[in-house]
């Protein structure tokens, strides 16, 4: 499928010819797409396809080799407050001396501002966010004493506390229990019904149809993107996961050595 990105300034996330490289080896190549507003969007692709890198590049967490990203027509720097982020659970040190509430309050730091202390309404907002993921009882539990699923819900609550318009989530469903999966899905649907845009790096092909409206099939390049019904086809999946890209990755390896 050929992607015709109109690059409208009203798109929550508009990506223009984005290329990202680690040690000169491209991991994302000429990604060009507009993400639709108010939808649940899955980014799907094999390991090393650049799924996490795509959302990190959108948020300026990794340097771009070329291309640009617009959040509602402006640079990310100007629109930070519109964006909430759920990193991969393994990316942080769960032995850090902090309780669940403390982690969720971090979602409010942007609103609090530099060098100011946490206000009462931030703690309140954090408690409400914990309530939305069913973790009120664990607010004062040290985070290392939470199960993996509970930790993931704390991360989700933190993003909710950010109270943003666009949500990026990096594998929120990775190795969570059934109760957590249910809680996350409920939160995702709530977000959609209040008009938010949610972009989720997703690894479970079985649940894409059930959970998401849109899908971005990614393997270094965008293989296809659009409504799940149209795009999430066997043919496209084969293209995404199949061997057709070996030539491309070979070229990428050579670029790295140059």
């Amino acid at each position: 499928m050929k992607i015709e990105a109109g690059h409208s300034p009203t798109s929550p996330v508009s990506i223009h010819d984005l290329t990202v490289a680690y040690h000169r080896k491209p991991v994302l190549w000429d990604v060009d797409l507009d993400i639709p507003e108010g939808k649940l969007i899955a980014i799907v692709g094999p390991n090393g396809a650049g799924k996490s890198t795509l959302i990190k590049a959108v948020m300026d967490l990794v340097p771009k080799a070329s291309g640009k990203v617009m959040i509602y027509g402006k640079s990310f720097k100007k629109q930070r407050k519109l964006v909430a982020y759920v990193p991969q659970r393994e990316s942080v040190d769960w032995d850090f001396p902090i309780d669940a509430l403390g982690v969720v309050v971090m979602g409010r730091y942007n609103k609090i501002g530099w060098c100011k202390s946490v206000r009462k309404r931030d703690t309140q907002a954090a408690m409400e966010a914990l309530d939305r993921v069913g973790m009120t009882d664990y607010a004062h539990r040290q985070i290392s004493q939470l199960s993996g699923g509970q930790q993931q819900r704390v991360f989700l609550a933190r993003a909710l506390a950010q109270d943003s318009t666009i949500y990026f989530m990096d594998e929120p469903f990775a190795s969570v229990d059934a109760a957590t999966e249910k809680a996350i899905v409920k939160v995702l649907r709530d977000l959609r019904s209040s008009g938010k845009t949610v972009v989720v790096v997703h690894h479970d092909l079985q649940t894409v149809r059930e959970y998401f409206d849109h899908v971005i099939l990614l393997n270094m390049r965008v293989v296809a993107h659009g409504p799940v019904d149209e795009v999430f086809t066997d043919a496209n999946l084969k293209k995404t996961y199949g061997g057709r890209l070996t030539l491309l990755s070979e070229a990428a390896d050579r670029l790295a050595r140059h």
Partner: protein
């Protein structure tokens, strides 16, 4: 022991110095980059030496600037070598700080000829002599106390000002960055604090021992609390305690063995280690004693529950009740443990003794019924989901019955008979 004003001042200076180090030290420990403190405390040496050589004096401002510049250079080089040289951070640190430290030593030799400075003093500090180093109009306050006191105050202000910024960039740099709180800015701010603190402290405890002040009290605090703010408070408290303990033991302990006093700075560093060991042994949450106690009380609970189970089954079969020795054989625990467990059960009015034989009371029977019920329901569950031979079933259920929570208990369901054909007692 002869105590004088000098001793008091030594402790004050040591405490101010150690408390000042504890603040950046806590953040370093939380960021899992403790050795960066070591690296920077070594590399301030060339900074100080260059400042000596350039200004020809011991001007504290020049020394501070020199040390901070080289300290930041260290932090930068460590990162650069790590990413360019493709080596792990430890190797990169080793390359940078040994080379810069050696360079500092070379420069220091040069400086000795020009400036009144003693390299030994730079390495090990001279806290014993600190009291004599006073400004004429210093109101009797030694310079070391002023320098370390100002540094402590500065660190406190920076820490309180950037309290939540240090927290978020330490815990989740990616989230911090996405919110516009730049982790690299906080990193270099921390490195500046560390370098400045190291140069303030080097006259007191020397550039080698200062690393003990950076790392050990915060690491000790980490064992004692799981709250971010409390970690700072404990680290500061512990470092002050270590300073006092260090000096007192430096002038007393060696005399017990007929020696004269030893190095106070050294003793302070040893005291931090001593406090760490105390915390490691006795920490209420993670200490060795707490873990042993926890394990022992778990074991006792299991034995108590096993006793109840054995007595219940004897009742079921209408067999004779057992005495303590027979019970210990029946459940495979030492007689001593069984006696302690029996005592606990008796206190809770779960069992009663007739002659030497033990039997269940009404109360004990209710608890025992629940346990046996859980055991037999587990056997049913296991048999259904993971078919195995009946001996294995019993073994697994034996372990599971002790960890059954009320919610597990209710989801185990109901049945009349277990796989061995025994009755599942009712849930009364």
């Amino acid at each position: 022991m002869m105590w004088s004003e000098i001793d008091t001042w030594i402790i004050v200076i040591g405490a101010l110095c150690a408390a000042g180090c504890a603040i950046p030290g806590t953040i370093l420990v939380l960021r899992r980059m403790s050795l960066m403190g070591d690296a920077i405390s070594h590399t301030v040496l060339p900074g100080i030496a260059i400042a000596f050589l350039v200004t020809g004096s011991r001007d504290p401002m020049a020394m501070l600037i020199g040390a901070v510049v080289v300290g930041l250079l260290t932090a930068f080089l460590v990162q650069a070598i790590q990413s360019l040289g493709k080596v792990e951070v430890g190797a990169s640190m080793g390359i940078v700080f040994t080379v810069l430290f050696a360079f500092g030593l070379v420069l220091m030799r040069q400086a000795v000829d020009h400036v009144d400075i003693d390299p030994d003093c730079v390495l090990y500090g001279s806290i014993e002599l600190a009291w004599f180093d006073q400004d004429p109009d210093g109101l009797g306050i030694p310079r070391g106390a002023i320098v370390n006191g100002v540094m402590l105050l500065a660190n406190l202000i920076v820490m309180l000002l950037f309290y939540k910024e240090f927290k978020i960039t330490s815990f989740d740099p990616a989230l911090a960055k996405s919110q516009g709180i730049h982790p690299s800015f906080m990193h270099y701010l921390l490195m500046t604090m560390t370098a400045a603190t190291a140069v303030a402290a080097f006259e007191t405890v020397g550039s080698i021992l200062v690393v003990a002040m950076f790392i050990v009290p915060p690491a000790t605090a980490y064992l004692l609390t799981n709250r971010y703010g409390m970690m700072f408070i404990l680290a500061i408290g512990l470092s002050i305690l270590a300073a006092a303990l260090g000096h007192v033991s430096a002038i007393t302990v060696p005399t017990w063995f007929g020696f004269s006093g030893t190095s106070t700075a050294g003793a302070m560093a040893v005291a931090t280690g001593f406090l760490f060991i105390c915390a490691w042994v006795a920490s209420p949450s993670q200490g060795v004693l707490a873990k042993l106690w926890h394990r022992a009380s778990m074991r006792l609970r299991v034995i108590r529950e096993d006793i109840l189970g054995v007595l219940w089954r004897l009742e079921e079969r209408g067999q004779q009740q057992l005495d303590a020795l027979q019970l210990s054989e029946a459940i495979g625990a030492t007689r001593w443990m069984v006696l302690v467990a029996l005592r606990g059960l008796q206190k809770k009015d779960s069992i009663a003794r007739e002659d030497a034989h033990w039997s269940l009371t009404e109360r004990g029977r209710i608890r025992a019924t629940k346990l046996v019920r859980a055991h037999r329901l587990w056997e049913i569950y296991l048999d259904k989901h993971f078919p195995q031979d009946s001996h294995q079933l019993h073994q697994s259920a034996e372990r599971l019955e002790h960890v059954t929570t009320p919610s597990m208990y209710s989801s185990l369901g109901d049945a009349k008979e277990d796989p061995h054909g025994s009755r599942v007692p009712g849930d009364e």
